[in-house]
Amino acid sequence: MTRSYSTVACRGCDLLQRIPVLQPGGKARCGRCNQTLAAHPAHTLDRSLALAIAAAILIVIANVMPLMSLSVAGRTATTTLAGGAYEMWLQGSEVTAAIVAFCAVIAPAGYVLSMLMVLLAVRRTPAPQWAGTLVRWAESLRPWSMNEVLLLGVLVALTKIAELATVIPGIGMYAVGTLVFLLPWLASTFDPGAVWDRIAWAAGESR
């Protein structure tokens, strides 16, 4: 970077501000509304890539392995993440099933997949334009990726059912539990500024 200051407009209150080039690990906040203006995570994009790969593996495990199983009077029932949504669908609550599937399966998987592809694409500069499109997808999917809410929901469900039957947590549950920590970690190491610096400009300019 050659400039010592860059001009930003706060997303929270639109105040124009000049911020100095940040030290690794540094963060600039808006002087007026305290919104984070820019952050320069101390890690390289490689760290984010490593986390994204780990998250992708865990997402596969979380979706394939049983989340939990229940046994009562010699009968057992097992469910996976998608299985929960599917049972909701069978029971006639299709809209709920679709939203649950979106928040529990599609959004987290889409988020991690987008991040993975972005991080792979920016290893080569200039990165193609579609990497920017994927950043947008990742940003819009993130609020709907509800792993932590899901995990708490499963725990409450377990407590409710535990009165009636024996409930055994499955491998999928541990995978979801790990993702609860891994996804915010991935988000905090991700440096969108570094990504945008590497992506070719839409208007065809070069930096």
């Binding site: 639109d14 690990g25 963060k27 509304c33 649950v100 969108p192």
Partner: protein, 247 residues
């Protein structure tokens, strides 16, 4: 970890200086036309001075959520069928069940996430919207913080939907015992999704625009210095630095 950077404020809103920040990549651009800002030169995102029809959309989502909040709480979310009986549970009776069965911490979590947070979100967003429309210029920071809390906390209301889903998924041991979703689940989920949409539609910059008494798109291009356009906090914000510099 490293220290914070120092943000040097130039004391005016980007919009009043004819600048707009791309909401995707953050690039500050100077659009040629005020009426049609066009697209971000870096990432190609559609540029807008403020979220389009922010207040109307937020109100629409919020009112819809407030209406659906009633059936969401009144209708049963789960119906339990056993050999001898059939029993329906609303969200509130689910909380009571958790409490009486001895797990009061979980009862509290569900009560907060399912009953208090949705209601709190509707009230908080409604308050922020009304205050923006009344062009309130006081307690901007508190209102911004309130909005951010609503935005951050909103997803947790989805808790009960997940609880119901996995109870339904597991307890299918007919004829011994089976659980079916009730009509309340859909309404409840709609409340959560609509309030999330409402929070996303709202543009927090509107809170700060009010201080200028003009809408950003109509604000004239200010002369350098722009002293008249400095958004001042009201008397309730003595902490606002005159020069806007904060270490």
């Amino acid at each position: 970890m490293g220290g914070r950077g120092i943000a040097v404020s130039v004391e005016r809103a980007a919009a009043s200086a004819g600048l707009v920040a791309c909401h995707l990549c953050g690039l500050v651009a100077r659009p040629v036309s005020r009426a049609a800002p066009g697209h971000c030169p870096r990432c190609g995102e559609h540029l807008a001075w403020r979220h389009e029809h922010s207040l109307q959309r937020t109100w629409a989502f919020l009112i819809a959520a407030a209406i659906l909040y009633v059936p969401a709480n009144a209708l049963p979310v789960l119906t339990t069928n056993t050999l001898t009986s059939s029993e329906s549970d609303t969200i509130m009776s689910g909380v009571v069940y958790l409490y009486t069965s001895g797990s009061w911490p979980l009862a509290l979590i569900v009560l907060v996430a399912s009953v208090m947070i949705p209601l709190g979100k509707i009230i908080a967003l409604g308050y922020v919207l009304v205050s923006v429309q009344m062009r309130s210029a006081t307690s901007n920071r508190q209102r911004t913080r309130l909005y951010r809390t609503v935005e951050f906390i909103g997803r947790w209301s989805m808790l009960d939907v997940f609880v119901d889903t996995f109870i339904v998924a597991l307890v299918q041991l007919s004829p011994l015992m089976s659980v079916a979703p009730g009509p309340g689940v859909v309404y409840f989920m709609a409340v959560v999704v609509l309030t999330m949409f409402a929070a996303m539609s709202f543009d927090p910059r509107l809170i700060w625009d009010a201080a200028r008494k003009t809408t950003p798109t109509l604000a004239p291009l200010a002369a350098p210095g722009g002293g008249a356009l400095v958004p001042r906090g009201g008397p309730s914000e003595p902490g606002e630095d005159r020069d806007g510099i904060r270490a």
